[in-house]
C-alpha cells in the first residue's frame, strides 16, 4: 500500500518534525567537519562504571527489576538528592527509575494532563517538552526568556502566560541551549505565582552538576514546593552516560504512582545493566565527575572569550556545556548562518531557532570538544564573520 498517511493519528501529524532535520542531513554529507553541534559530553563513560556493568553481566544480572527500579539504586538516588539539593525522598514510593529523563518527562505529562491542559515552557529550551505536551493531548505555551536576563525565567513573563487551563510549568535549568541557570532568588520569585495558580512543576535538572557559579538550587527545596515539584535527573550529562538511557523522577507518592502505572505497561523497567552502572556512578563516580566538570569549566571560559574576540556577543553561560552567542549582527538568520558556516568553513553548530522561536538570531555552540577543536572552530567562524562584514 502506498500513501499510508491517512492512517497516522492526528495528534502525531500535528507535531512538526524536528526543525533542523535538513541541517542534520547537510552536516552528515559534509566532510572534515569540526562539530560544536553535539548535545553530549566528549568523555566516554568512566571506566569503573563500564566495568561495573560488565561485572553485573558476568554475575548474571540480566533480568527485569521492580517497575520502580532496583531498590539499591533508589536508595542511592535518595541519598544523592538529599546531599545535593537538600530534599528527602522515600526510596519506596517517591523515586521512579526511568529510561532517561526523556521518558520521565513523557510519562509525567501523560500522568498529569487532561486534554487541553496547558504546559508552560520557558524558551529557548530543549526540544522535547512541547511535543511531549502535544502527545499527552495538552498544549504547550511558550514563555519567553531573554539574553539580557541571562535567560532566567522572569515572574512577570510567567504570569503573563497563565490561563485557567495552565497546569504544568517546566523548568529546565541549567538550560540547554543557553547555559542559563536559575539562582535561589530567581526561583523564590516564582513560587508565589506557582502556588497561587496551583501549578505542578516539572524540574528537569539533568545538567545540575554542570553548574559553574555556586551550587545548583532545585525549586523542590523551597518552602511549599516539594509536593508540587517532580524533580528529574539522570546520569547522561554528569557521568557521561548518554547512551545508557538512565534517569529518574522524584516526587509526591501519588504522582510517582500514576507515572509508574504508565511506565509499567510501556517500559516495564529501565535496563538492569544501566541500573547497575548507575549505582556505581553514584557510589564511586564523584571524583571523576568533578574532574570532568572542572574540565568543562576551563573550556567554557575559553570558548566565551574566543567568541567575543571574533566579535560575537555572548552572555556568559553558568551551566551545562553550551554557549549561545548572538549572530544577529551578521544580518543572517540562524539557519542561514549555520548553513554557510558548515559549507564555507566546515564547522557545525546548531541554529538557535531549533529551540523555539525566541532562539532566532542565536546559535548553540557546545564546548564539550577538545581545546584545539574549539580554537579552530571559532577561528573559522571568525573568517566567515569577517567575510560577511566585507560584503
Amino acid at each position: 500500500m502506498s500513501g499510508m498517511e491517512a492512517y497516522i493519528s492526528d495528534v502525531v501529524k500535528s507535531i512538526a518534525p524536528s526543525g533542523i532535520r535538513r541541517f542534520f542531513d547537510l552536516v552528515s554529507q559534509t566532510e572534515g567537519v569540526i562539530s560544536l553541534g553535539v548535545g553530549e559530553p566528549d568523555f566516554v563513560t568512566p571506566w569503573h562504571i563500564r566495568e561495573a556493568c560488565f561485572y553485573s553481566l558476568e554475575k548474571g544480572y540480566t533480568m527485569y527489576t521492580s517497575n520502580l527500579g532496583l531498590l539499591e539504586l533508589r536508595e542511592e538516588i535518595a541519598w544523592y538528592q538529599k546531599r545535593t539539593i537538600g530534599v528527602e525522598y522515600e526510596p519506596e514510593d517517591q523515586i521512579l527509575v526511568t529510561v532517561g529523563v526523556s521518558e520521565a518527562i513523557d510519562i509525567a505529562l501523560r500522568a498529569l494532563l487532561q486534554p487541553g491542559d496547558e504546559v508552560l515552557v520557558p524558551e529557548p529550551c530543549y526540544v522535547s517538552y512541547a511535543p511531549g505536551a502535544t502527545l499527552a493531548y495538552g498544549k504547550a505555551v511558550p514563555v519567553e526568556t531573554f539574553d539580557q536576563d541571562q535567560y532566567r525565567l522572569r515572574p512577570d513573563s510567567l504570569a503573563a502566560k497563565i490561563s485557567p487551563r495552565s497546569k504544568v510549568l517546566i523548568l529546565a535549568y541549567p538550560n540547554n541551549p543557553t547555559g542559563g541557570i536559575m539562582y535561589r532568588e530567581d526561583l523564590e520569585a516564582l513560587t508565589d505565582i506557582i502556588i497561587q495558580n496551583d501549578l505542578i512543576v516539572i524540574s528537569d535538572e539533568i545538567y545540575s552538576e554542570l553548574t559553574y557559579d555556586g551550587q545548583h538550587v532545585s525549586i523542590a527545596s523551597l518552602p511549599g514546593m516539594k509536593d508540587r515539584t517532580i524533580v528529574m535527573n539522570g546520569f547522561s550529562k554528569a557521568f557521561a552516560m548518554t547512551g545508557w538511557r538512565i534517569g529518574y523522577a522524584c516526587g509526591h507518592p501519588d504522582i510517582i504512582a500514576a507515572m509508574t502505572k504508565i511506565h509499567q505497561y510501556t517500559i516495564m523497567c529501565a535496563p538492569i545493566m544501566a541500573q547497575k552502572a548507575a549505582i556505581e556512578a553514584l557510589r564511586h563516580g564523584e571524583a571523576q565527575m568533578r574532574k570532568m566538570v572542572e574540565d568543562y569549566n576551563y573550556r567554557r571560559k575559553l570558548i566565551v572569550n574566543s567568541l567575543r574576540q571574533i566579535g560575537l556577543e555572548c552572555f556568559e553561560p553558568r551551566g551545562a556545556f553550551y554557549c549561545f552567542p548572538s549572530i544577529e549582527k551578521t544580518g543572517l538568520s540562524s539557519e542561514e548562518f549555520c548553513a554557510r558556516l558548515l559549507t564555507e568553513e566546515q564547522v557545525a553548530v546548531v541554529p538557535g531557532n531549533a529551540f523555539g522561536y525566541t532562539g532566532e538570531g542565536y546559535i548553540r555552540c557546545c564546548y564539550a570538544a577538545s581545546v584545539s577543536n574549539i580554537e579552530k572552530a571559532v577561528e573559522r567562524m571568525g573568517s566567515l564573520i569577517q567575510r560577511l562584514k566585507n560584503q
Binding site: 552528515s28 553530549e40 581545546v371 580554537e375
Partner: protein
C-alpha cells in the same frame, strides 16, 4: 587549588597549551602565567617537555628493556651514587629506586636487542656495586603516559544532536 598546581595539571596532559590559552581558561593574567611557567622551568619543577610517540607507525623497531638491578648501597650516600652512575648513560631512559625484591628499576632503550644486551653486560653488570640484573624486554606497548596506542581516539558521537 593553587594556580601552579592547576597549570601543571593542564600542561601535564597537553604541553602545547599556550600561556594565552591557559590564561583564558584559568581566568588569570597571561604575563602572570608565563612568569610562573618560566619560574617552574628554572627551578626544575618543570623538567622539560617531550612527545609520546608510536614509533611502530614509521617502521622503527627500537627496543625497550626494563632491568631489575640489585645493588649494594654505599655508606653515607645509600643508593644515590650508584643510581647516578647508571642514569648518566644516555641509553637509560628512567631509573627508579624500588621497594621489594630488587633495588633499582632501569629502563633502557636501544636500536636493537644487541645494543641493550651489550649495555647490560658491559656497562651495567660490571659496575662494582651491582650484584645482579634481570632484563625484561618490552614486547608491546598498550598505554603510555595516559595515551592508548592502538585505539585511535575517534569521536563516536553523532555530529549533531540536541
Amino acid at each position: 587549588m593553587d594556580l601552579q598546581k592547576r597549570i601543571l595539571e593542564l600542561i601535564e596532559h597537553d604541553a602545547r597549551l599556550s600561556a594565552k590559552t591557559l590564561a583564558i581558561m584559568l581566568e588569570e593574567d597571561e604575563d602572570k602565567i608565563q612568569k610562573l611557567i618560566n619560574n617552574m622551568e628554572q627551578d626544575k619543577t618543570i623538567l622539560g617537555y617531550n612527545t609520546v610517540i608510536n614509533w611502530d607507525n614509521i617502521g622503527y623497531d627500537g627496543v625497550t628493556a626494563m632491568i631489575d638491578v640489585k645493588v649494594t648501597p654505599e655508606r653515607e650516600v645509600g643508593f644515590n651514587s650508584i643510581a647516578e652512575r647508571i642514569y648518566r648513560f644516555p641509553e637509560v631512559r628512567c631509573v627508579y629506586l624500588m621497594s621489594g625484591t630488587y633495588d633499582l628499576s632501569v629502563i633502557v632503550e636501544g636500536d636493537n636487542m644487541k645494543d641493550v644486551a651489550r649495555f647490560v653486560s658491559y656497562k651495567l653488570s660490571t659496575l662494582e656495586n651491582v650484584q645482579s640484573t634481570v632484563t625484561h624486554f618490552v614486547l608491546k606497548r598498550y598505554k603510555q603516559d595516559h595515551f592508548i596506542f592502538e585505539e585511535a581516539e575517534v569521536d563516536k558521537r553523532l555530529v549533531v544532536s540536541l
